[in-house]
Symmetry: C2
Subunit: 186 residues, 2 copies
C-alpha cells in the first residue's frame, strides 16, 4: 500500500480535512498495546486551540486505551483504503494486532505516544483535554497538538459513511462561491 | 426554488444524511423572531435517543434564540441551494428576516415552534437536551424529536465545507463494501 510523505500543517486549519465529515482511523497506544479503530462521529469544535470532539463507544477496545493514555492520532484514509477501513471497523483489537493484520505502518508521532499511520494522507496528533462527557455520552474532546499532511493530493478523495453499509465518496471541490464570503466568515 | 414533499423518517436513522458531514441550515424561533443560520460543525452522538451535537457560536444571532427557546430545526440543503446557504452564512438575523430575504418558505413543525424550511430535502426537529458545554465551547446537544425526509433523491447531493471559501460536493454512493460488515456493525 502507498505511504505518503508529509509536511507540518497548521493545526488551526485542519477543518480543510475533517469538516467535510470523512471516516477516519484513530490510532492509540497504552503501555505496550496499540490499536486502530474506524470512527465517523466527529466534529471540529474550535480553531485555536484546535479542538475536535468525537464519540468513541465504550464497546470499543480503543476506548480504554484512549481514556487511560489520554492521547490518540486521527488519521485520514483515502478511498483506496476503503476496504481496509471497513475491515478495521469490523474486527476488535482485543483479538488482533491491527497494524500487523492489515499491513499498516506505524510511524512515531512527535507529541503523543500513539503511532501515526503512514498509509493515511494526513495525521493529527491529539491530546484529551476534556473528558467531562465521556461517562454520559462517550464524547471525547481532543486538542490537536500536531498535524502532518501530504501536500498532494490537495483535496484527498475521502469516504463518508451513511450507515447500512453505504458510503458516499467525496466529489468535486469548488471555490466558486468564495466571492460571496465576508473575509471574517471564510 | 423547488420545495420537497416529505415523509416521516425514523429519527434513529438520520445518520444517513448527517453523518457524511454536510453543511446544514439551522432554523430557530423565539417569541416573535425567527432566524436561519448556516452550520457545519455537527456530529451524531447516539441512535436512541437520536442525539446530535453541534457548535453554535455565541457570535451568531441564532445562539440566543436557540439557547432561550431550547429548540431548533436542522435542515438539509442540496447543492442547488449553495449560493443561498453561503448568503445566509454571511448575513446576520440581527439585520435581516432571512426567510423573507432569501425567499425561503417556513413550514410549521410538529414538536417544536421553530419552522421547517420547505426548500430543504430533509428537516430534523430538535430539542436541546444538554447545555452543559454551551458556556465553555458553544456546544449544544440536541435530541431529534421528529424527522421529515423527501423520498427522492435517495442520496441528496450535499455541500461540505473545507474553510477558505471552498466546498466539497458529495459524490457517488456505494454499497460494495457491505458484505464485509458484521450485522451489528452496520
Amino acid at each position: 500500500m502507498k505511504t505518503y510523505k508529509k509536511k507540518d500543517f497548521p493545526v488551526s486549519e485542519i477543518r480543510k480535512f475533517l469538516e467535510p465529515g470523512p471516516v477516519v482511523l484513530v490510532s492509540s497506544a497504552h503501555r505496550r498495546r496499540t490499536n486502530i479503530m474506524t470512527m465517523n462521529w466527529h466534529t471540529p469544535m474550535e480553531f485555536t486551540p484546535s479542538l475536535v470532539g468525537c464519540i468513541i463507544s465504550n464497546a470499543n477496545h480503543s476506548f480504554e486505551l484512549i481514556r487511560r493514555s489520554r492521547e490518540c492520532v486521527i488519521n485520514l484514509p483515502t478511498v483506496d483504503l476503503a476496504e481496509t477501513v471497513v475491515r478495521i471497523g469490523n474486527t476488535s483489537g482485543r483479538d488482533l494486532d491491527k497494524f500487523a493484520a492489515f499491513k499498516l505502518t506505524p510511524v512515531p508521532a512527535t507529541t503523543v505516544r500513539a503511532p501515526l499511520i503512514a498509509e493515511c494522507c494526513a495525521n493529527f496528533e491529539c491530546r484529551l483535554v476534556d473528558s467531562k462527557l465521556v461517562n454520559t455520552y462517550n464524547f471525547f474532546i481532543f486538542e490537536v497538538t500536531k498535524a502532518h499532511v501530504a501536500p498532494t493530493p490537495r483535496y484527498p478523495k475521502t469516504i463518508h459513511y451513511r450507515g447500512d453499509g453505504t458510503f458516499m465518496i467525496s466529489g468535486t471541490n469548488t471555490s466558486r462561491y468564495r466571492p460571496l464570503f465576508q473575509p471574517d466568515k471564510l
